[in-house]
Each structure stands twice: as C-alpha cells, then as structure tokens.
C-alpha cells in the first residue's frame, strides 16, 4: 500500500496519489492542525448522521455551543463537567504513555468515589469534622481505593501477563456491582439505590459559597475539584517530562526492549503506573462525589467519564497540560448533549472523533501528494 493509482479515463495526463514516508520532522503546528481538522471532519460526519435520522445538525451544534459556553453560568457548569473528565483523562494518559491500555478508569473512578464516601458514611470521621480535615482524608481515601482497583490488573499483568484491556474492563462492571451492593444493602436511603446526602462539611467548596463577598460568583457551581485536577495535571507533567521515573515510563512505552537492557524493571513499573493511574481516576471519583453528587449513587457517577477520558487523553497526545483544555471541550459536549435528542448523539460524536483522530495520525507519518505523471 505504498501507492494507489487513480487514472482518469481518456486523458493524456493522469493524476496519481503518491504516499511516501515522511523523513523530515513536520513543523510544530502541523500535528495540532491535523487534530483540529480531524475534529472538524468528525463534526461533519456526525452532522450527516444526525441529518439522516431526521435531526438538524446545525441546530444541534449551535445548541451545544450555546448551552455550554453561552454565558458565565453555563460555562461554570461546563467546567464542572470537565473536572471528572480531566482527572480520568490524566489517569489514562499516564498508563497509555507506557502502552498500558488501562480502560478501567471508569471502575477506578467509581471505586474512588466509594472510598471517599466510606469516610463519610462508615463513618470514619463524624459529620462535625472540620472541612480542612474532611476533604484531604476523603481525597486520600479516594485515591487509595482507585489505586487498589488499578493494582489488581497491574499485578495480574506483571505476574501472569494477563491482558490488561480485558481485566480492567471486567473490573469496571465489578466496581459498579460492588457500589450498588453498598448503597442498597448498607447505606441505603429509604430503600433506594443511593446513600443519604453527605453533611456539608464534606462538600468541596463551590464558587457560589463566596458570593457574599464577590457577587460575581453568585450561582456558579464550579467547585474545588477543578483545582485538584489542574494540580494533578501539573504534577503529572513534571513526572512525565522532568523526572527520572517519567523517563523510564516513556522509554518502556517507546521501546520495552531497550528499557529492559537499560535495567528498568517493566514488571515493577507496570504495577506502579497502574496504581498511579487508578489513584488519579479515584481522585476524579472523589471530586465528583464530594463536589457535585454529594451522595454515593451509581447512575450519576458511572456516566462514562472514564471512557471519555480515553478519547481526551488521546486527543491531547497524552500531554497532561493539553488535557486540561480538551477536557473543557468534552465537558461542553456532554453537558449540552444531555438535552439533545436522540440521546446517543454525544456518544456517537465521541466515537466518530476518536476514529477520525486515529486515522489522521497517518498524515503525521506519511506525506500524501497529488502528482501529475505520464505513466498510469
């Protein structure tokens, strides 16, 4: 598949599409331009599908834009939606960097929410505890629970070479059933599948709480989970690009044989990276349960943030700082998408986007030229 001919009939000169490997490094703006073009193509393809089921793609997209960036209030809601995606995407990015396909961020996210909720519901800390103690303990518990959920597939991979794609995915289903058991059997509120509302001391602070001193913040739902996410992104950036460990992770991802010859333990790094990945997703679960839901309940928590995180991580080329920006875009898509009919459209657009992005990577490695040639 080095070249394919597209000869036009009854013409002297024929045009050929010539595909050749790129030998030089493309300019710095080129990958970004390719990604943006891929998204535009995805939106066009998504629009065609929307139109084919009888919807109006222009109205749908205009609605998404208005309902997510239209004013400060909805922008704040967009950021609230972006926060769990951000942490889930960071979790995926560090694992993918090592070519560990952790697609269990969803389950690790739910277990993180469970771990954080256990502090409130068990209760480990009484409801009167100061916020300054409550929230750090919940964050640590959430990260620990997520890390345990990441440790299991990491250990199985390191020890028995168990395919982590399947094991992490299976653990997603187990996590949902596990949390459903607890909120139904132990912490149920009135027999419903949800826990009682948490005391306000365990809530992550929201901007609207400071409206008395800064009136601009009135009604804004953005909570401190965003700060946790940005902090995690910056820390992760330093780990990946500026630390010895990050170098090892990148080396294993790019060339496991070279890493092994250099004396880097792949097994140990597999376990540690899976635990770090799980901890980040778990922090996302904690942020969502303490910042938005304020009770343990599976339906709003297991809303696919872990899967969206995969796409966001990939779109951001696994760069933690770029992930922050891309998360906001996907937060918008999910927020506005709730009101769009049919309800599967945001999910479908995400799928089309990922397909277009992967396909577009080809253009980074190959140069496609239209050449005029005499030969057929």
């Amino acid at each position: 598949m080095t070249e394919s001919t597209s000869a036009l009939p009854r013409r002297r000169t024929s045009y050929r599409i010539k595909i050749e490997p790129r030998l030089d490094q493309p300019p710095a703006w080129f990958p970004a331009a390719i990604s943006v073009s891929a998204i535009i193509v995805a939106l066009i393809l998504g629009g065609i599908v929307i139109a084919s089921v009888g919807g109006n793609p222009f109205l749908s997209y205009a609605h998404i834009a208005r309902a997510s960036f239209g004013d400060v209030g909805v922008l704040s809601d967009t950021i609230v939606k972006a926060t769990p995606i951000l942490l889930a995407a960071l979790a995926c990015s560090i694992a993918f960097r090592m070519k560990l396909w952790n697609i269990g961020a969803e389950g690790q996210f739910i277990m993180g929410a469970f771990g954080a909720s256990a502090i409130v519901l068990a209760p480990v800390l009484p409801a009167e505890t100061s916020r300054w103690l409550f929230i750090p303990v919940m964050a640590i518990a959430g990260m620990a629970a997520g890390a345990i959920w990441g440790f299991i597939p990491g250990y199985l991979k390191a020890k028995f070479n168990v395919n982590e794609i399947i094991s992490t995915l299976m653990l997603n289903y187990i996590a949902v059933a596990w949390v459903n058991f607890w909120i139904f059997a132990v912490w149920t509120e009135g027999g419903f599948q949800m826990s009682p509302k948490f005391p306000e001391t365990s809530w992550l602070p929201r901007l609207s709480e400071y409206a008395s001193s800064i009136p601009f913040f009135r009604g804004l739902t953005t909570h401190a989970g965003l700060l946790l996410g940005i902090l995690a992104a910056v820390v992760l950036w330093f780990i990946v690009y500026r630390s010895r460990w990050g170098y090892e992770i990148r080396l294993i991802g790019d060339n496991p044989h070279a890493a092994q010859y250099a004396g880097i333990s792949i097994a140990r790094n597999t376990i540690w990276v899976m635990m770090l990945s799980g901890a980040l997703a778990g922090l996302g679960g904690m942020s969502e349960v303490a910042g938005v839901v304020h009770r343990l309940q599976t339906s709003p928590l297991a809303a696919g943030y872990g899967f969206t995180g995969i796409i966001v991580a990939w779109l951001a080329k696994l760069n933690p700082v770029v992930i922050i920006l891309v998360s906001v875009l996907f937060g918008a898509l999910i927020l506005a998408g709730r009101e769009i009919q049919p309800s599967g459209i945001p999910k479908m657009i995400q799928g089309i986007m990922l397909v277009c992005l992967i396909a577009s990577d080809f253009l980074l490695r190959y140069r496609v030229r239209l050449v005029r040639g005499e030969e057929a």
């Binding site: 598949m1 080095t2 599908v49 929307i50 089921v53 396909w101 697609i103 199985l156 028995f160 070479n161 168990v162 395919n163 794609i165 399947i166 094991s167 995915l169 299976m170 653990l171 289903y173 187990i174 059933a177 596990w178 459903n180 058991f181 139904f184 059997a185 899967f307 995969i310 796409i311 990939w314 009919q341 049919p342 309800s343 599967g344 459209i345 999910k347 479908m348 657009i349 995400q350 799928g351 089309i352 990922l354 397909v355 992005l357 992967i358 396909a359 990577d361 080809f362 490695r365």
Partner: protein, 322 residues
C-alpha cells in the same frame, strides 16, 4: 430448578459468545486485534431488531445485522491495515462508534414491542439422547444449531485447508506469506470482515433469539469484551472457544435462575430473592473472565503457546521483521 433447563438455556446464551469469539479468532489469526466486538455486536443487535420490525422477517434481520456489522469492521480494517494505526486504540474507537451509532439509530426501539423471532425446533432423533439430547437438541433456536455446525467448520478451515494455511501464515509471518504471493492486505481485510459478520450474528442472536428486544447498551452488557477475553483463553482455537462460550453461557443462566427456587438440593436456598447476594452474583461472569484469563495466560507461558506472532503489528511492505 431443573439443571437440564438451565443448561439448555445456557447453551442458547453461550451461542452469542460463540459467534463473537469465533469471529475474533478469525481476525486475530490473521494478525488483527479487533477490540470493537462489543460495538459491532450492538450494531448487529440493533440492526437485526429494527430490520425485523420493518420487514417482519427475522432472517432478513439476521442477514442485515451481519452485513452492517461487517461494514463497521471495515472502518477498523482501513485504519489499522491501510493507515497502520495502533490496533488497540482503533478497536476501542470502534466500540465507541458502534455503541453511539446503535444508540442513535436504536432510539425508541426499546418500546417497539414484540417481533417474530428466529424459529426454534427440536432435532428428531438426537433430542431423544438422555441428558445431552434435551440440553443441546430440544427446542433450540436455529441459530444455536448453526453454532454447532460453525465450530467444527471453523476448526477444519483454519487447520486443514489451504485457505486456513494462508490465514495462519498472514498472522504468523506476513512477510513470508507476502513472498509466497499471498495478498496480506486483502486477506486481513477479509478476515476482519468475517470477524465483523460473526459479531453481527452474535448481536442478532441476542435480539432475535436469546433475550429478544433492544435494551440499548444493556443488550450486550459487556459480552463483546468477554468474547475478546475468551479468545485468549481459547488460545485461538475454535473448539476451545466453543467450550468456553457454552460454559460462560451456562454460568450466566445459572446466575439468573439460582435466585428463583426456595429449596436447593434439599437445603434452603441462600440465594432465594436475596438482593444483597444478587449484586455479588452479578459480578461473577466478569470475575470469572479475569480468572479464565489468568489460567489461559499462565498456560500460554508454560506451554510456550502464544498469540499469532504478528498480532497487533501492521504489515508494512519492505520493512524488516514480522
């Protein structure tokens, strides 16, 4: 709780996994990992159900499901074979895409009511065999019988025919296959298509035979992923794939049925409508998949068996190596 009835239903439910697993065996034997099975199954289930509503003929439903799931698989084939992209990410993308498309096009189908299903019948003489007869040959859907035929055929094709030899060559050592004049690219496209067609058939088996209807993502509930796991357990062998699929099908049925009776083997049934234990029962198929993977992976290490050598790698003509 009659064990024979559970096993009979288990065989039907295992047929879903069987088709999906066999399809993935073909694709992976050709060297292409396709993680989009779940998405293709959903598209198959949705297409089969909606086409059957529209036409009233379940056979047309099954065939369209196979065609459209096969068509979807060609997106993956193009991305990983022609564009040489990472097979893991592309497969994930295909699952997202298939799930999204089936949700959009399947909107409102869950309220569609009943449709005519694939016919069920008993095989005259075989169903008289004690124990095995009623389990395998009594009142099963025609799709279950197709599964019985397909398994040995797939085994024979892969291991005993020229086409199967070429298939294995393309997955194990594509540059050697290429040197022999086998068109590696065309073969890989073909077997990814076969995988998609069988995944579509698996989806149609759910929505038109085993658990009729369209329940959005819950229609498959992760069975596509279990199938991908079963391929590793089956070590890319159709016979082992069938054993694994039927065992998992029986387990799924057992979990559903064990909560019914009050008395179990003369004792009070501890699972009797106990919603708390029910959550743990729900975990079992997924936990078993992980356990089966551990067993399969350990066995593979011990016997030095492995995946097809070129699995996951794009074939680039003129490059060194596999």
């Amino acid at each position: 709780m009659d064990p024979i009835i559970i096993l009979q239903a288990g065989v039907a439910s295992g047929t879903v996994l069987l088709f999906a697993t066999l399809g993935e065996v073909f694709a992976e034997r050709a060297g292409v990992l396709n993680l989009g099975v779940e998405g293709m199954m959903l598209v198959g289930a949705m297409t089969a159900f909606s086409t059957t509503i529209a036409t009233g003929n379940p056979w047309i439903g099954v065939l369209t499901a196979m065609f459209f799931a096969g068509l979807l698989s060609q997106i993956h084939a193009f991305i990983v074979i022609t564009l040489q992209a990472d097979q893991v990410v592309s497969g994930l993308a295909l699952t997202f895409l298939g799930t999204g498309i089936s949700l959009v096009l399947g909107e409102g189908l869950s309220k569609a009511g009943t449709v005519s299903l694939m016919p069920s019948f008993s095989i005259p003489l075989l169903s008289q065999i004690p124990i095995l007869g009623p389990i395998f040959f009594r009142n099963q859907s025609v799709l279950v019988y197709i599964g019985y035929l397909l398994t040995p055929l797939a085994w024979y094709y892969i291991n005993r025919t020229r086409g199967g030899l070429h298939l294995r060559a393309v997955g194990e050592y594509p540059s050697a296959a290429d040197a022999l004049g086998i068109n590696v690219f065309r073969m890989r496209y073909l077997y990814v298509f076969v995988g998609g067609v069988l995944a579509g058939l698996a989806g149609a088996t759910i929505s038109l035979a085993v658990a009729p209807g369209w329940f959005s993502e819950l229609t498959t509930a992760g069975q596509g992923w279990i199938a991908v796991g079963l391929v590793i357990f089956a070590q890319w062998d159709p016979i082992r794939a069938a054993l694994g699929s039927y065992a998992f099908g029986a387990l799924r049925r057992l979990i559903l049925d064990i909560q019914g009776p009050t008395i179990l083997f003369g004792f009070r049934n501890p699972f009797y409508y106990d919603p708390y234990l029910g959550f743990f029962l729900q975990m079992l198929p997924y936990a078993f998949t992980v356990i089966v993977l551990v067993i399969g992976s350990r066995e593979a290490i011990r016997k030095r068996l492995g995946a097809p050598a070129a699995l996951g790698n794009p074939y680039i003509r003129g490059e060194r190596g596999l």
